[in-house]
Symmetry: C2
Subunit: 258 residues, 2 copies
DNA sequence: CATATTTGAACTGTATACATAAATTCTGCT
DNA sequence: AGCAGAATTTATGTATACAGTTCAAATATG
């Protein structure tokens, strides 16, 4: 099964990361699935060396666990893990916007944030006719990606980017599919109001307020998750579309089925 | 990244990480020094494969930069980088102790923290006769390592551990050498008082206060750094013992000197 | 029938070889 | 002498081969 090799043939290892990450997040490789170097390499039609590198990166990202003997298994996320990741995101974004307010934000990024806020307004629709969910998700993601560069600190930006890679902690984790967006439709307007307030606070150089607002923003995300869980069975695993969290044991990557 | 663990010299790649990190931190490889895979491998008497893995990890830790063409150079740290790293540490520790207070800390870790606080008291000496600096540094480091497990959140613990690996952001970064400890001798007592207050706040389940105290604790570290910089020339580079920050261009890893 | 043991397949860690891309050096020309 | 360009040399990315270890199935044993 040598997948189309002509894709992004820049670096095999990067392509491997994307392929594996996507398969894990899609739930194709369920929790505790053992992913072997040789099998994964064979599957992707590349050698073990770049595959090894890709697995190491995914372990670092937290998507894979590494056993004592060096084997890689898909990490199983609990509801607490997701909550903590959202908490972390709120704290990091809060710190970044506080510093941005205190030190003065980088002009370009700030302007871009304002611009994105305007675009989000449009996507949400003035009179709430019909929301362009897909566009909203894209814009929201870019807003947050731009936001974390606002302080000018590479250190904090790095950490925030890393936090964003954590499944479900990303600003638009379950804002991807319309299926999840519709139930929390009203909260999107609240979130947008928070975006505006955040930018205001930064412009006014009110660091403490900016930090507080960012945390509140993350709290909203958590509330949405809680609401989804309440309606679905009180377990993250059961939220449709978040199959990566499913507890279903999976077959090995290897063909050795059963 | 499962760098830790007792895996002594079993894995060549881990040994390589330790060797390279130590050489970078010691200043042997100054900022912007190019570290080549082949040269580094040859130097350590191992092959390129584990060396490659080690370099990737150090890039991830932030000790090395990777150029567009894949080359690795020693990162040059600015004073701002250090300040941001300390800020990050304070924020992460603050979040962890807040959650520990809110959710209830893990009993074992909390007891160990109390124990360590007692030991630090002893190391500092009751009547301030003479401080056992080396022991203090060890105990302080362990105190903080234990602290970041207190919330029971693996996610936050991971991030904090990562932050600790950042040079100078570690709780005892410049508390390693007596040379730096003596000038800030008096602040060690303040820090210890903060440790106690922090544990009190957690025991009393006062999350907000615990978070505030943790941030104050980090602020003290920054003040110490500022004081050191003031007395040394206003540049991190010039603080003795922190040669990793020195701006002196270094020879290549390769033997091709001059 | 359950448990301990052995045996074999599979996987990871490491080394080496090869190809491609980058960088430096050398040479020729202006 | 200075600059441009080509050739050489070096470094990275990838593939493959080999050794030690781990895991698991199958067999033997009480």
């Amino acid at each position: 099964m040598a997948t189309y090799a002509g894709a992004g043939k820049k670096l095999q290892s990067e392509r491997a990361v994307r392929v594996l990450r996507s398969r894990i997040l899609s739930g194709e490789f369920g929790p505790d699935t053992h992913i072997s170097e040789t099998a994964a390499a064979e599957m992707m039609g590349i050698s073990r060396t770049p595959t090894r590198e890709a697995l190491a990166q995914l372990v670092d990202e937290g998507l894979l666990d590494r056993t004592s003997s060096g084997r890689c298994t898909v990490r199983s996320f609990s509801a607490d893990d997701v909550i903590d990741a959202i908490e972390l995101r709120g704290v990091l974004e809060g710190t970044i916007v506080r510093l941005a307010a205190e030190r003065g934000p980088s002009r370009d990024d700030f302007d871009r944030c304002m611009e994105l806020a305007d675009l989000i307004d449009i996507a949400l629709g003035d009179a709430e006719p019909e929301i362009d969910f897909e566009r909203y998700a894209d814009l929201n993601a870019e807003f947050h990606r731009t936001l974390i560069g606002l302080s000018g600190s590479v250190t904090l930006r790095r950490e925030a980017e890393r936090a964003y890679r954590m499944p479900l902690a990303s600003p638009s984790a379950f804002l991807q599919s319309q299926e999840h967006l519709v139930p929390v439709r009203r909260s999107l307007y609240v979130a947008q109001a928070q975006h505006r307030a955040l930018l205001d606070a930064i412009a006014a150089r009110e660091g403490a307020r900016a930090e507080m607002l960012a945390r509140e923003h993350a709290r909203l995300a958590r509330q949405n998750l809680d609401a989804l869980m309440q309606s679905e069975d009180r377990h993250v695993h059961d939220i449709p579309g978040l199959s990566m969290l499913a507890g279903t044991p999976q077959v090995n990557t290897k063909g050795r089925t059963q």
